[in-house]
Every structure is written in structure tokens, then in C-alpha cells.
Amino acid sequence: MAEETLLTDDFLRQLIHVGEVDILVGLRTHNNAKTIEPVIRAIQAGILKCFPRERSVIVNADGGSLDRTQELIVGASIDDVWSVSKVYALRTLHSISTRYAGSPEPGTALRTILAAADLLRAKACVVISPDSTTIEPDWLQRLIRPVYHDNFDLVCPIYSRQKFEGVLMQNLLYPMTRAIYGHRVREPYASEFAISGRLATDFLTRETWNDERTRIGAEICLTIAAITGNYRVCQSFLGPKAQPDRSASDLVAVMRRTVGALFTSLDSNFPLWSTIAGSQPVPTLGSQSEVMLEPVRVNRKRIREMFAIGVAELEPVLRSILSASTLSELQRIATLEVSEFNYPPDLWGKTVFEFAASYHKSVISRDHIVQALVPLYRGRTLTLLLENRDGSGEEIERKLESLCGDFERLKPYLLEVWADRK
């Protein structure tokens, strides 16, 4: 059920005009005028081309854009699609937009979209990132079709990535989600995904929206809710994904939103995940993950420094989070030069699990715990860069699989520290 206060009267009026739909395409924007036009055009073309008979709507939840984002979305005409793609619209395709209350926050935006999907009884709801400038109309089909025609409840994307893109996903989110919940979902925290109406309604009605950590990490919580709720999950290959420009300072916020939410999910789901061993593949439509091997310029020395400074300066904090042996090993690694630097996967797995256990026990502020993980994550990233500098796509995949294996093997250790730590 949509919460009364979530939807403004004006937005409600717009929804009444739209009426029941089969497909709802959700956008979460905040000052995206620079990129939104091609995204909207691709969405419209995708709907008209692949789902011409379905009742569809584009719903934008905006966080208070000061550029013309909202106007560009609402004003996008399907006649423009005809002139570019020669796709003819059988029926009306609405584009509506609302400014949700509060500060810009993807979780609140998602909640608004889910509420709209619930009210309009959408059979499939797909969320597209407003800065996905590499989007093709076919993405709509690849995301929606499994829900609409094959009764899947959650479709996560798989992208072709540059080998050093999506490092947080490869180093932490994927291996840990896989080890904890036993499902091999490559992008558990996705900016594009599709869900069924029933999962949307279920997720919308959960109490967890009141928890800030869950709300800001709603995407990963959604994936976990689908897995733990026995919903049918699959993955769909979309192709290349443009990496939005992010400054280094964003990393803390991103870690809070993703790792924090993942750690938080462990509390309530303990009875479930504690009994899971190993992992199962999930159905994957289209190609498997592809790695593109274009050279990337990275300042390795700077990353090593950030790791070493973090380990040194955060020693008191780390001492309260990590076991003595883990901390000691990290301190040793912090002394290594770039040429010798190596943060091995099993140590990384132990580190993450000890952080998760400490997070569970709230040994210090939970935000500080996640923040303290940031320099260590940088250290692990440096190892990844060094290991894979000349690696082929297959080699990178093999190493990722090995890392995931380490996380799965270390899961009994997580259970141990989860129970034993003070």
C-alpha cells in the first residue's frame, strides 16, 4: 500500500490520469538535465518497439533538480521517437514527474516509484538510471521481459565493464552477498533493474523503510529481500555501462549506502543466512559478464599511501573491530612498497567478515565502522589493480571466482566471530 504522505496530491492526480498500467518505468533524478534526453528517448523507443501493446508509463521521482530535468522528462514527445527510430505508438505513453519531499535520496525516490507502481497495479516495474548514457532501447526488453513474460520477480543487470570499473561490486558486494545469501547475483546493488508487481508491493510495505540505513541502501535491500523471500531472481546482460563521474569523497557515502545496508541486513536475516553453505547460480539471460580491457590510468602510489595512512591513523578504531592477527597482518602490508604490495583475498575476506560482526555488535558507531573499512578497501583495490594489470578477461574472471570461493570458505569464520565477539 502506498503511504499517504509519500505521494503529493498533484502526483496522485497525475497517477489517476494514467490509470492502471502493465509496465512502469521509473527514473530517479537530481539535476540530470545533461544526460536525461537520450535516456528518455531510449526508454520511449524501447517501450514502443518491444511492448507496443502494453499500457506503460514513465514515472520520474525527482530530488529537487534546479536544472530542467523534470521539464525535459514531462515534455519528451513520442513523436520524437518516430522521427529517430521510426517506431509508431499504438497507445498513449505518459511521462510524469514528481518532486518528492526531503533531500535527494535514491531510496526515497525508489519508494515513490514503488508506491506509484503499487497504485497503478503495474505488472512490471523497471528502474533506469538517468545517467545511463549508453542505454539502448533493447535494455527495456532485456529487463522487463523476464518479469512480464517469464514470471521472474527481480531482474538484475550484468554489464560489460572496463576491468577496473565496478571494483566495489567485484571486491566486496558480490562476493559477500553470494557467500551470505547463497545466490550468485553479479550486481546486487544495481542502478538498473526490473521487479514484478508483487515484489514491488511486498518491498514497499516493509517496515524497513523507517530505518535510514535500509532506506539509503534500498537497492541492495531489494535484492536481499527478493533472495530471502524466495522470489524468482535472474540476471540479464545489458551491454556496456557508462560509469558516472564520481569524486573520491563519494566513496564513503557509497560504502555507507551499500556495505552498510548489506551489513544491516545480516541482523534480521541471521536465521536464514546462517544455515546457507556455498552458492547457487541464478538464471542469466544473454551473455555472461564481459570485461573490456582498455588501459586505465591509476595513481597506485597514492592508493598505497591512503591505505597505509588509514591503517596507522585508525589503529584504535581498527583494534576495536578487527582481531589482533588481522590487524597485525594489515599493519605489515602497510609497510610494503607498491611493487611488493599484496592484500591477499583470504585476508580481505576475514577483514570484511570481522567488520560485519563488529557492525552487528555495534562495537562503535556503525557509520564509523563502515568509514573505517574505506582505506582497507583501497588497499584491496590496489592489489586488484596490480594483479590484473596485464590480465586477460578470463584471468580476471577466474580471480574473481577464486575470491568468491574464499568468501564462501570463510563463512564458518563469520559465524564464529558473529557469535563470539564481545
Binding site: 492526480r13 494514467v18 490509470g19 492502471e20 507496443p52 499504438l90 498513449t92
Partner: protein
């Protein structure tokens, strides 16, 4: 009594399309006839129609349900005599009902004496009355209309050893309108019937009268010359008589057929009809508003003819491939329902016999700009028989009662021209005039009611139209206006109740009076006018400033 031919009578008409053969059999031979039809004139008067369009009734081998004429100046013996026709015509006029007949001008039967003479030898004086060729390659750019049966527009004549041109079935050779003698003779045919008193003609297949190499042989300027010549003769000698074009074309291509009020008075709006069905099923006004936006203005004295169903298949020639696929999937899942590029079904089965949808479609038919045509039997919700060949499934006997042969004929059922509908849903025991006359709430009674309301205001026949575009796309709303009279029409195309806000500020101060029940609705103010409207419901409001 002769009904005076009054200029523009067709603009406010309600036309009822009837096949003599299918309506009522007076002599018990299993085939409807003019005496039977005349007996049913009171029914048509009671229904409220103001004109009858008769399908072909001239002598014919009946290989295309009479559209293959072998004598233009007589009545097929199965339907009676010329005297019977006169009596019927007089009876109709006595009741204020006008009569429109078919003028199958493009082609004759291959059994017509003209064609028999023409094919007899290459030097026969009537040789040039038809289009002959030594090869079958001329006019190569011309499409084939009856794709399911014809491979070419040329047919080989073994007698004169040459090819003759036919746009329809090969047993229907096209007349040669480049020949002035043919044009004169066809005018003489029209004059014959006009002198008898008919009020107008539906000219069959008009775009195809003339052929020219390197063209599509459709809508050619020379075809318009032929039509203008006929129209002038009609206006000069029989003022008030009406010419209706059957030209299955896009609206922009149809516009020239009205000329400068010197060609046709009326033309069928073919592309609108499938889009009404599409809009209903999509629950979206887009297909309807789009085609009407593309419909050009026509001269003041001219009029569109609107219809939901007729004796032919629901034609899907004037839609895109995607729309055609959609229509087939939605309305003709069973391939037996499809014929050529269309769907051979009646109104009620197309709409799943859903009374609300039948009413809504008729409501739009009666309120959109044009003269509505009701196909016989659709006013009681007759069904179809897709197991009969060609388009015969929608031409079954009219169902008058639950008795013998549905009251159509006293003949043995086996001897009827077509098996009557017998199934438990649409059979004559379930669907018939007699039982529906007994109920105030029957479809027939409702049809009488809506026709009466439509006739109560000239705004529907002659008024302008302005579409409102409320944000709710499931609602089709428009304002019809003529002089000081304004009517607001609001249609809910959806199976669910809808809320809609209409921008009626320019009518501020008016109150709305619902035309079916006469109830008063709130006065229009500065705010959007808010209405809730039930599933498939529609409102007609008369605007009044009191």
C-alpha cells in the same frame, strides 16, 4: 406519397443497411424479397432510421452477393418485381424514409449481355466497353484487392483470346470508363432509378473506374472527371439526390472525392472504424483522435458516413501492419474469422456480446461527425457464422422472433438462402426482435432511444467538433457545436470507472443537462470540470446558459 428531395437531407440521416435477401421472405421460398421488406417498414420507422441503404438487388448470377450485376434495370426474380420495388419505395417514402440503392459502376458480371457481346469477338461494337489486353503485364503497379482468391488483375478470356481487366473477382470485368458510350449508358441506368424515385446511390468501388499505365490505377484525375460529369447530371436533373462514395482510402486521399461540392455528397470514413475498435480494446483514445486529426475539412454540404459494421469484412487495409496484427490478435484469434485484409464478424460477437461496449460504440457512432449507418441485425445484437464462406457469415437471415426460421420465412429451414443462426447465445431463439420489443431495457429499445436523442439535435449531423484532451487518455471527450447549440460528449473507453478533469473554461457559466435522463449537472466554473464515469459509460450533455 413522394418524399421531396430536399438538399442536404443526408446530413441528419440515420441510415439502415439492409439486404433484401436477408430481411424478410413474403412468399415462403426461403429468400427475402421486396414484399417482405415492405412489410417491415413499420419496424424501421419505429427504430427511427430515416434512410434505407439497399444492397444490390438487380439480376445477377450471385457469385458476389449481387455485386456482379447482369441487368441494371430490373429486380432479381428471387426478390420480386420492379412493381414490388415501386411499392416498397412508396411505402418507405410514406413513412418519411428515404431509399439509397447500390450503383455497382466499376464492373459487371461476366454474364452481363454487354460482356457477352464484348468478348464475342475483337471487333464487336461493345468490345471497347471493357478493358482488354493482349498481355497480362499492363498496369503492373496496381495492387490486387482480393488477395485470398485472385492472383492477378487480368483474367484470360478463351473466347476472344485476350486478357480482360478486373479489380475484384475475375468474374467481374471492369467497365471501360474511357469510353463515352459506357459513361452515357451508366448515367442512363442511374436516371432510370432516379425517375422511379430513389433518393441516392452508393457508388461501389469508385477509385478504380479509370486505368493508366505507370500509376496505381486508383484515385486518378480522370476518375474524378467521370464523377463530376455524373454529379452535374444529378444536380441538373434530380436536385437533392445524393451520391455516396465507397472508396476505401486514407482521409487525405478521400478528400478529393468531395471536390468543390461537385463530386460526392458523402463518403465512408473507412479508417475511423477499425480505430474505434482499437481504441476500445486499448482503452486509449489515441487511435481515434489521431485519425480524426488527420481527417481534412470537407465542404459544408458534404458529409462523412460512419459505420461500425457492414456487409463486408471489417476492413484493415487502412491501418499499419502493427495495428493490423493487434486487431487480428484481439478480434480474430480464430483464423476462420479473417478474410482478405479484414475480419468477417458482426458487432456483437466482436465485442464479446458485452452490452456496455455495444452501447459505447453506438454512442460514438451517433455522436462523432458524420451520418451513422446501422447494419441490419446489429440493433438487436445478432451474431455471425464464421463457418459460412466468404462474407456470408454476416449476412444470415434477420431474426424477427423465436419461432419458425426466426420469423424470417415460412419455408423449410433447409431451403433458406442461408442457415439461420442457431447457437444458444446468438440464435434466433435468444436474439430476436419480438422478444426485445417486449423489454424496455433490451438493446433494441436502447437503440431506439439513442436514435431519438441523436435526431433531437442537428448538432450531431452538421455541427463542428473540437476534441478536449484531458490528461486521462482513457476518456474521449469532444464538443459538438452548431449555431447556439453545444453538446459535450464524454466517453469512457475503459473497463474500469475513471475520474476525469475537463477544461471547459470557455463554456463557463453553462450548466450541463444530461441528454438521456434530462438531469442537471453542476455549472461550469473556472476550475477543471470534474467527472467520474463508469466502465464503458458515456455522457451526452447539452450546455445551457440559464
Amino acid at each position: 406519397m413522394s418524399l421531396k428531395r430536399q438538399a442536404g437531407w443526408y446530413k441528419d440521416a440515420i441510415i439502415y443497411q439492409v439486404h433484401v435477401r436477408s430481411f424478410s421472405d413474403s412468399n415462403g421460398d426461403g429468400i427475402g424479397d421486396f414484399q417482405g421488406l415492405a412489410h417491415k417498414l413499420d419496424y424501421m420507422q419505429e427504430l427511427g432510421v430515416t434512410a434505407i441503404w439497399l444492397m444490390p438487388f438487380s439480376p445477377s448470377p450471385l457469385r458476389d452477393d449481387g455485386y456482379d450485376i447482369s441487368d441494371y434495370r430490373s429486380v432479381h426474380p428471387s426478390y420480386g418485381t420492379l412493381e414490388d420495388f415501386r411499392a416498397f419505395l412508396s411505402g418507405a417514402h410514406d413513412r418519411g424514409i428515404r431509399v439509397i440503392i447500390e450503383m455497382v459502376a466499376n464492373h459487371t458480371s461476366d454474364q452481363h449481355p454487354w460482356f457477352l457481346e464484348s468478348r464475342a469477338s475483337r471487333d464487336n461494337p461493345k468490345r471497347d466497353w471493357y478493358v482488354w489486353s493482349d498481355t497480362d503485364t499492363r498496369y503492373g503497379g496496381t495492387r490486387i484487392i482480393f488477395l485470398d482468391t485472385e492472383m492477378s488483375n487480368w483474367a484470360w478470356d478463351p473466347i476472344s483470346k485476350s486478357y480482360y481487366w478486373h479489380r475484384f473477382f475475375s468474374h467481374q470485368p471492369d467497365l471501360n470508363y474511357d469510353n463515352p458510350t459506357v459513361r452515357d449508358e451508366m448515367w442512363n441506368v442511374m436516371k432510370f432509378w432516379l425517375e422511379l424515385g430513389v433518393d441516392g446511390f452508393r457508388l461501389d468501388a469508385v477509385p478504380y473506374l479509370i486505368e493508366r499505365e505507370g500509376t496505381s490505377c486508383e484515385n486518378l484525375p480522370e476518375t474524378h472527371d467521370v464523377i463530376r460529369e455524373l454529379r452535374k447530371k444529378v444536380d441538373d436533373q434530380f436536385p437533392g439526390a445524393m451520391l455516396l462514395a465507397e472508396a476505401n482510402q486514407w482521409p487525405a486521399d478521400l478528400r478529393p472525392y468531395f471536390g468543390n461540392e461537385d463530386e460526392f455528397h458523402m463518403a465512408f470514413h473507412f479508417p475511423l472504424m477499425p480505430r474505434m475498435f482499437m481504441g476500445l480494446r486499448l482503452e486509449d483514445r489515441k487511435p481515434i483522435t489521431e485519425i480524426l486529426q488527420q481527417t481534412p475539412e470537407i465542404p459544408a454540404s458534404c458529409q462523412w458516413c460512419l459505420f461500425l459494421r457492414n456487409h463486408d469484412e471489417l476492413t484493415l487495409e487502412m491501418v499499419t501492419d502493427m495495428e493490423r496484427d493487434y486487431m487480428y490478435d484481439i478480434y480474430a484469434r480464430d483464423k476462420a474469422m479473417r478474410l482478405n485484409l479484414g475480419i468477417r464478424r458482426r458487432l456483437a460477437p466482436l465485442l464479446d456480446n458485452d452490452r456496455r461496449r455495444i452501447e459505447l460504440m453506438n454512442g460514438m457512432l451517433m455522436s462523432l461527425p458524420g451520418t451513422p449507418i446501422i447494419y441490419y441485425g446489429d440493433e438487436i445484437g445478432m451474431g455471425d457464422n464464421i463457418y459460412l464462406g466468404d462474407r456470408n457469415g454476416v449476412r444470415t437471415p434477420m431474426q424477427w422472433s423465436g419461432g419458425w426460421n426466426g420469423g424470417f420465412s415460412t419455408a423449410d429451414p433447409e431451403s433458406l438462402y442461408s442457415p439461420p443462426m442457431l447457437n444458444p447465445v446468438y440464435g434466433y431463439q435468444a436474439v430476436n426482435v419480438a422478444s426485445q420489443k417486449r423489454s424496455e431495457h433490451s438493446l433494441l429499445s436502447w437503440m431506439k432511444h439513442i436514435i431519438r436523442i441523436r435526431r433531437s439535435s442537428p448538432v450531431f449531423g452538421s455541427g463542428s467538433i473540437e476534441f478536449l484532451y484531458p490528461a486521462n487518455h482513457r476518456v474521449l471527450a469532444y464538443v459538438r457545436q452548431l449555431g447556439k447549440e453545444t453538446v459535450l460528449v464524454v466517453n469512457n473507453l475503459s473497463s474500469a470507472a475513471q475520474a476525469v478533469e475537463l477544461d471547459l473554461r470557455r463554456y463557463r457559466g453553462n450548466i450541463l443537462i444530461e441528454m438521456f435522463g434530462g438531469n442537471v449537472f453542476p455549472r461550469i466554473g473556472d476550475l477543471p470540470y470534474f467527472l467520474t464515469i463508469g466502465p464503458y459509460q458515456f455522457y451526452w450533455f447539452r450546455l445551457r446558459r440559464i
